[in-house]
């Protein structure tokens, strides 16, 4: 498979400056080493000065302005050198802010401050320290996304190893699984060395029947102990292959999956696990309810697009439960899939890495699935992740124990720390209210001085994040994703910290069918409460601003801006709870593929598809042609050496566009359709090609209008 065809997207494409930096990457002599040591010493003292040297308000503003101008100018230059430089810059200014916060804004010794002030202040500074730690670890994680490319399989087929493809399932509908099993069976691999195993904890006979029909191995176990982990461990007893590929039953692999991934296992004998991204071809609740599908990167893209790739540099990529291959010996060394926590996947890779095994990540979507359908489902899934990560943090903390490098520990730690965002996020959403409503002095410093120290920290972090994460997450969207989760993962994570057994927590959606639009007020309640509180705070602040004749105006304005920002974010969160009706049963994939149509009279015509789904296809004819509705024709998708013809009925004909519905298919026809939709190696590669670059301003504008739209909807529905 040609690598250039796959085209790995750059974090920030290299430029002239990176080329120059390459000149510094060769061998250095003794003089160079000596110079380096001296410079390092200077750098340490310089960093100390930048972090700790106190400046008066005016001079801090001057200093911050110069830093900002330099950073803005540098940000125009492409390349990783500048990315790293901006990370350093941002780290320095944030550290400077935190140092200032800790040393100059927490003096509560004056008796005028009471315990309310101190309580809010402790909450805020703890939240800020958390955010600072996560910021630093995030920079470490994304310092150099590895962007590993696949290793070609050797020409000699005899040395290709055997692989068992495992598809665990519990209660997913049959239809969802069928494509997965078909696609797994059709993966390009020597037939005698691949086995597809369907591990059914649902103990359904219809699944057994389907497996028999399709040629997959059906595995059922007597109990359901340890859920998915136990299911796989049970199946391992019946599997002898050197490698295990694991897919969730709704993750449909491409035919090329094994060829793309297996090469690395042959090259690196210590490689235990290779993960590929989880790609979703259907909109998640955010995308569907906000109408941003394929316009704004979804929640998972940052993780699979950047963080796992960044982890890979540090040999700290972890297993995500699906779309991955595991070396059997490594898995057996740690006693199979981990069963101690509810995130068995991450925990398993942590255990393997502690034994000295490597992990790898290839950032090429080689499988695709359906996103969670409802917001409630989405939250439920995240609660499980959060709780599981907190459990690992509690019982097998990556900072402790043997076998890991410091960078590995920090990368794992950050993945866990992320899920402790609940409390800090709520603190940030309410901190200005403490001042506006309760008059609590949460920061003992003049508002302008606070702004002069805090804004550089915020602006540089925002700018750097936009540069690094832009393609995978638009500015400020993290706030939305995190705010949605914060309320719900707060208690599960805290409880899991107290005792790993605690913290089971169930979220149920409002029991309305997906057939019509509705507002999931049950899920949205916490955001509505926070939103109302912020609005109250905002108006109390406004009255204070105008009622106190400008007294404390700077503090009030600062807190009003903060509250206003919170209102926008909470508005968007509330908007996500407007569950939108699902337009169609099957997902329609936009893809321009070669196909041939054959009319009843036998004339064949080469066409290009516009989109296709499991139910039908729309094609563009070379010339305008009107076909009566209901006409039965034949279509061959991806006609290679031999075409597979499928009957279809015309459902629409307009100009050169022809839409048709498939007639009931044979297995062979079905396999061809699955191949056309899901099985192509490049099926998901160009998914985000037409998306605009991240722009801080327009991203905020987008959020603002979404929040406003939500308010409008609430207003009209209240009226209605």
């Amino acid at each position: 498979m040609a690598e250039q065809e796959l085209g790995v997207r750059n974090v920030a494409p290299g430029g002239k400056w990176d080329a120059k930096a390459e000149a510094f990457s060769g061998k250095i002599g003794i003089v160079g080493k000596l110079l380096l040591v001296i410079l390092l010493a200077f750098a340490v003292f310089g960093a100390y000065a930048i972090i700790s040297a106190p400046l008066d308000l005016g001079w801090q503003v001057l200093f911050a302005s110069i830093c900002l101008l330099v950073a803005l100018a540098l940000n125009r230059v492409q390349g990783r050198l500048i990315s790293i430089g901006l990370m350093v810059f941002s780290t320095l200014l944030s550290a400077r802010y935190i140092y200032w916060r800790l040393t100059a804004s927490l003096d509560y010794s004056d008796p005028q401050y009471n315990w309310v002030d101190v309580l809010f202040a402790i909450g805020l500074i703890a939240a800020e320290l958390y955010a600072f730690a996560v910021l630093l670890m995030g920079y470490l994680q994304t310092l150099w996304p590895l962007q590993r490319t696949p290793v070609a399989m050797p020409g000699n087929l005899d040395i290709w190893p055997s692989v068992d493809v495992m598809i665990p399932t519990l209660n997913e509908p049959l239809g969802v699984m069928r494509s997965t099993i078909i696609a797994a069976l059709d993966m390009d691999w020597p037939r005698d060395r691949i086995k597809v195993m369907v591990l059914d904890d649902g103990k359904r006979d219809e699944i057994r029947a389907m497996c028999d029909e399709l040629g997959a191995l059906y595995v059922r176990r007597p109990d359901n102990k340890h859920a998915k982990a136990g299911n796989i461990n049970h199946a391992l007893k019946f599997s002898k292959a050197e490698f295990v590929a694991i897919f969730d039953c709704d993750h449909v692999p491409t035919r090329s999956f094994l060829q793309v991934t297996m090469g690395w296992f042959l090259k690196d004998k210590k490689l235990s696990m290779l993960q590929t991204p989880h790609h979703f071809f259907s909109p998640d609740p955010f995308e569907r309810n906000l109408g941003t599908f394929r316009q704004v990167p979804n929640e998972g893209e940052l993780f699979y697009g950047l963080l796992q790739d960044g982890n890979d540099l540090w040999n700290a990529t972890f297993f995500c439960g699906s779309c991955a291959v595991i070396r059997r010996t490594a898995l057996e060394e740690v006693g199979g899939i981990a069963v101690e926590t509810v995130t068995e996947d991450a925990h398993t890779s942590l255990k393997m890495q502690r034994e000295g095994w490597n992990t790898a990540y290839i950032n090429l979507p080689q499988a695709a699935g359906r996103a969670t359908e409802s917001l409630a489902g989405h939250i439920k899934q995240r609660i499980r992740w959060a709780r599981g990560m907190a459990q690992i943090f509690r019982i097998d903390n990556p900072m402790l124990g043997a076998g890991l490098t410091l960078a590995q520990r920090l990368c794992y730690l950050n993945s866990m720390m992320y899920f402790f965002l609940g409390l800090p996020r709520i603190v940030f959403l309410t901190a200005p209210l403490a001042f506006l409503i309760f008059d609590a002095r949460i920061i003992v410093a003049p508002a302008l001085v606070f702004a002069a120290y805090a804004l550089p920290h915020l602006i540089h972090a925002q700018m750097t994040h936009s540069r690094l994460q832009g393609p995978y997450r638009y500015s400020f969207w993290a706030e939305v994703y995190e705010t949605i989760l914060s309320v719900y993962i707060l208690f599960p994570t805290l409880l899991a910290l107290i005792s790993p057994k605690l913290g089971k927590f169930n979220v149920t959606a409002k029991g309305t069918s997906r057939s019509k639009n509705f507002f999931d007020s049950k899920i949205a309640l916490p955001y509505i409460v926070l939103l109302v509180l912020n609005l109250i705070g905002f108006f109390v602040g406004l009255t204070k601003l105008f009622g106190q004749f400008g007294e404390n105006a700077d503090s009030i304005i600062l807190n009003l801006l903060w509250t206003g920002y919170n209102v926008v974010i909470l508005g968007v969160c509330t908007a996500v709870a407007w569950e939108q009706r699902e337009v169609r049963k099957t997902v329609r994939i936009t893809a321009e593929l070669p196909a041939t149509v054959r009319f009843a009279d036998g004339t064949e015509m080469p066409v290009r598809t516009v989109d296709l789904s499991e139910g039908g296809v729309m094609v563009r004819l070379p010339k305008a042609l009107t076909v009566p509705l209901g006409t039965r024709i034949e279509v061959a998708l991806l006609p290679g050496k031999e075409a597979v013809w499928t009957e279809a009925d015309i459902t629409r004909s307009a100009g050169s566009v022809l839409a048709m519905k498939f007639a009931p298919m044979s297995l062979q026809q079905e396999r061809q359709l699955v191949y056309a939709i899901f099985g192509r190696a490049d099926a998901w590669l160009h998914w985000a090609d037409r998306r605009a670059d991240d722009r801080v301003g327009s991203s905020f504008k987008k959020l603002f209008s979404l929040g406003l739209g939500s308010a409008k909807k609430a207003f009209t529905s209240a009226k209605g």
């Binding site: 000065a49 400046l55 830093c67 901006l86 320095l92």
Partner: protein
Amino acid sequence: MMIRNKRNWLRTPALAGISAFWSALAAVAASGSASAQLPAAPAGASSDSAVTELAGRREFTLKDIGASQPVRLRGIEHQINFPVAIRGDEIVTGARLHLRYAHSPALVFEWSHITVLVNDEVVGNVQLKPETVDGGEQVIDIDPRTLVGYSKLGLRAVLHYTRDCEDPAHTTLWSVIANDSRLVLDVERVPLPNDLANLPAPFFDAHDSSRLVLPFVLPAEPSAEELESAAIVASWFGAMAEYRGAEFPVHLGRLPASGNAVAVATRERLGPALAVGSAHGAQLAVINNPDDESGKVLVVTGDDATSLHAAARALTLASGTLTGRSTQIANLTVPALREAYDAPRWVPTDRPVKLSERVGAEQLQVRGQYPDAIRVPWDLPPDLFYWRSKGAKFDIGYRYTPTPGTKSTLDLDVNNQFARALPLLMYDAPQKLDEKLKKKLEIPLVAKREQYRVPVYKFASDNELKWQYNFEIRKKGECEDVPEAYLRGSIDADSTIDLSGLPHYSYLPDLKLFTDGAFPFSKYADLSQTVAVLPTKPSAEEATTFLNVMGHIGDATGYPTTRIRVSDASGLNGANKDADLLVFGTPASQPLYSQWAELLPATLSEKGSRLQLVGGIERLRARFEGRDLDGAREHATKIIVEAGDKLATIMSFESPLSSKRTVVAFAALSGERLQALSTLLGDPGRRHFVGGDLTVLNVDKVSHYELAPQYSVGKLPLLLGIRWWFAQQPLMLAVMAVLLAAFSALLLYRLMRNLAISRNEGRS
């Protein structure tokens, strides 16, 4: 507070006791001064009014002996004491108190009176009458025999407003005694025997709270060693004089017509009038002033520089061991060099210091419903660097009689700035008592200890810590109120204050540091790093100025300037180059002023004095630092022109002979004006106006300017130094940030790239 109960550097028990006596009385006298009902004595008529006369009459106002404000006596009975001290060589033959007073009109007059006491014996009474409500005056004769040595003048008011039950805190119970009320004494001189054992009396008598004026007699053309020895003696007297101030008018080659004097000369230059026998070597003697029966002359002499110095050192460092009319000093060894910052006057800053090291325990106790403040002097080296310091660690134990209420407090002021208040609660017993028991017991005394930090911005070089007990007055109702005279409060003598860890770092030139703490010369208390540059043949005024400055330095350090070097301009070579310099003289007599004309902030000349020109870079820098250089120059020029030939200046700049060394120059157009500069240093009213790198005295107005760039002396710890430097340099901080980001980016790029290559090759 007029009498600053400052310091007792002399460790001899007798003197320490005397000093404590003064302090205690002074503290007593300072109380009871609330609002002024009678006009206060005019400012400026203070210390100077207590002029020493050889014999005859002495007059003190209450203001001179401690009442900075009119004395307010309130309540049914209230007494305030003032210290009165009689010189050891005087006896009182007659004494009168001219009392001016006023009082409340709402009194029962036959029961209300003011009693005058001396040493707690009644010497007179003043009956309060309706006629004296708006002010009365009465002369009270005092038995002169009661006034010997240290005495206590007491004023007690007994006031009543009703014949029935009284509220002792009733607001009508007040009387005020003017602080210009005078105590007039007729004195007679009783000369002391000529005995070195009396030293420092009669040349300095601690009983005498007036300014010390002690003439020095030097040969007509004093040599360097004679000037050095005179300086040692002058600084010793200056240190003892403390708050009184000291002047040492120099008589070249002649004795003063009357009174006491100190003569310093090598033996062959003493002259016949001061011949003290044919002894050899270092010698000290007390003889009669040949021109005045009652005057004494202290003769300090020796054969050569070594023995003359030894005589001066013996006088100043071992005066307690001297006896007889005359004594030979056998021990010629030079005492070891003093360490930096070990001046006895300064509180050590390398360890926690107990209060008992600085004041006596008796000064830490007070009593009464309205107790006096507890005052502790806490002088510090002037160059302490307080920036970003966490504060001084106070570990203070205190005891008090608990009052039933909850509003009693113990307040701490540092330099009259409020620093901390502690509540004095009823049941804070030292041991844990059963709650019920606590309520039954009237605990007679509560002892507590607390640790806290006091922000260092409240500190200067010359500090006073003041603890004030405020006892709540408990209202019980008529006929039940009792003045709570049993109330007591104290600060534990083993309480400590810790200023350790503060670096020594300051920016010079800054004449403020010189007036406040004689810095940088005082860094080594023996002045081993100082050279005084006098004209080759100094005039009497120039020598006087020099000795007055030495007196000032002695006062600042509490130690005689035993290693001062005196030189003329031509002697500034060799070891003398690497020293801080004190320069004295007029443009005519001091050649350094023309040699260093470029460096001086101002050039003095009969034809017209002018300021030094300032370069463009310096102007830019001043603008950047926010100093109005042009405004200052304009003002200074005006003052200089106004002053004409009365111009006198103190200037300070970095020594051209050695970097980081400081020159302080006293320059005037005439000797008389030069001398005026040195008296300025001892004048508490005007010394605040000395500062900057140029202080100008025109006729009697003092103003100061910062015209030249400063340089730093001292050393900061590395990390603090980095922060301090960058805190002044926001631009450099930004440049640093960019450079650091660039360097780190290149380094990380290299590391990450190589790591990525190795990962992509399948190595781990």
